[in-house]
């Protein structure tokens, strides 16, 4: 990913956004041609209420350097109260993660409405800038068993499944 910039750090950021406000706000940023950093990958959900803290944890596990969670402003929730419940959940999660030693700047929580394409752009750019400053999330990646069980050397070609035994042995040596 982002291999074209191998010499500079390109943050990988996952955004969990609600369908009605932030996703639509990001659409509006598009229709308004608001240029922004390209480091964010959006995962669309119906509502912030649907966002389980495990999503964020899993994103870090999968190598995200930062996470954005964004949805409708209070009182704007398409589902009336999903974002209020999410707000409590995120507050608890935010605080406990900080207690565990996770830099809160790794997680951006924001309200971006369907009409706030420009705000979405700012949230994206600010988060990217913050994470760029913090650097890759090595501390979290160090938790991976990969850190102590490195992969065998990468190989160019892959062998068909039926043929795997010799190739694998060769690689493993």
């Amino acid at each position: 990913m982002n291999s074209q910039h191998s010499d500079t750090f390109e943050p990988r950021i996952t955004a969990f956004v609600c369908n009605w406000c932030t996703y639509t706000g990001a659409d509006l940023a598009g229709t308004s041609r608001l240029h922004m950093a390209s480091n964010v990958r959006i995962i669309r959900l119906p509502c912030t209420g649907r966002i389980d803290p495990l999503f964020i944890v899993k994103a870090f596990e999968r190598g995200a350097d930062g996470v954005i969670v964004s949805g409708c402003h209070p009182a704007d929730c398409h589902y009336t109260s999903g974002n209020y419940h999410a707000r409590r959940r995120f507050a608890v999660f935010h605080d406990i993660m900080q207690f565990l030693g996770v830099d809160p700047r790794r997680m951006t929580f924001s309200w971006v409405s369907a009409s706030e394409g420009a705000k979405w752009k700012d949230v994206v750019n600010e988060t990217v800038a913050n994470i760029r400053e913090l650097g890759p999330y090595e501390a979290y990646r160090a938790l991976a068993p990969d850190a102590v069980e490195p992969w065998p050397e990468a190989v160019d070609g892959l062998t068909p499944a039926g043929d795997q035994e010799p190739a694998a042995k060769e690689v493993a040596s």
Binding site: L54, R88, V92, M97, L100
Partner: protein, 305 residues
């Protein structure tokens, strides 16, 4: 060197034995769950025969939160019939939690509440020791429910406050909070790396009542079940946040942890969070709604852009 003195049993043991006997004799309950004195110290006991009611004890060794046996999924307990349960104040909060979450009907259980003056950190001792700052269960300090209100019988006499432990849990949490972020991370990842994923913490928790724990869900595998640091971080984090606003601070998770992870620090931090943000403290009033699942229009949101 002289150790702490041996302390007498708390007042109310005789009453406890009498009430237990009467409840069993009248058939009001089929089993009394309380504490007994065994080869290795105090432990839970299930009494079905009124003649054995005298086995019951109540002293500083009665650490166990027996509410864990009310989990509706413990068929071998529930099939005995109506339960009489001996509870301390902290235990009664867990009963309230089960009632709140529709896991128990109030008339299924007779609660025998004991006025409590605090317990030891460990109950596996041949004799009840007097509480000292070194041996007292840290959670007992500042306990707000030493006389349970969610009871059918309240026994014993008012007890003095337990001693202040050498270091309270709040002080330990504060000490961690004062560390730089990286050191906190190092501390917790080291602690979690000890985890062997036996799930003792979950099994003994009176409020970990899921039929299938999230960690056992394999499709998708949100939490890796292998005891590597990554899986351990997710597991310990998730266990803790699942108890946010539900934890009653009985400390059983930490006591049962075979590798000594200081889980009560995490639990206490979460209690502080829900208290500071939502003004919620666990109580033994089942009508007192838990903070997660509820909201206010003006909940703090300073962390949201």
């Amino acid at each position: 060197m002289t150790g702490p003195a041996i302390a007498p049993a708390y007042a109310g043991v005789d009453e406890l034995r009498r009430v237990a006997r009467e409840l069993l004799e009248s058939g009001e309950v089929r089993v009394i769950i309380g504490w007994e004195d065994a080869r290795r110290g105090a432990r839970p006991v299930f009494i079905t025969d009124p003649a054995e009611a005298d086995k019951l004890i109540f002293d500083t060794r009665c650490v166990h939160n027996l509410v864990t046996y009310l989990d509706p999924r413990r068929d071998h307990v529930s099939e005995l019939g109506r339960i009489g349960l001996v509870v301390k104040g902290c235990d009664a909060k867990a009963v309230a939690g089960l009632l709140r979450e529709s896991q128990l009907s109030r008339d299924h259980v007779v609660l025998i509440g004991m006025r409590c003056g605090g317990v030891l950190e460990e109950g596996e001792l041949p004799e009840p020791l007097a509480l000292t700052p070194e041996n007292v269960a840290p959670r007992c300090y500042g306990c707000d429910n030493r006389e349970p209100t969610l009871t059918d019988h309240l026994l014993g006499e008012p007890q003095p406050e337990p001693p202040r432990p050498v270091m309270t849990i709040d002080e330990r949490v504060a000490a961690l909070d004062d560390l730089p972020l990286e050191e906190r991370w190092a501390f917790w990842t080291e602690q979690f790396s000890k985890c062997v994923r036996c799930y003792a913490c979950r099994q003994v928790c009176p409020l970990c009542i899921c039929e299938r724990c999230i960690v056992e869900k394999t499709q998708p595998l949100w939490i890796e079940s292998a005891a590597h640091p990554r899986g351990n971080f997710s597991w310990n984090l998730t266990r803790a946040i699942h108890l946010a606003g539900r934890c009653v601070d009985c400390g059983e998770c930490e006591r049962f942890c075979p590798v000594g992870i200081p889980l009560s620090l995490l639990n206490r931090k979460l209690q502080q969070i829900v208290h500071d943000r939502y003004g919620y403290t666990a109580s033994d009033d089942p009508e007192n709604a838990a903070p997660i699942g509820d909201y206010r229009l003006d909940d703090q949101q300073e962390f949201i852009k």
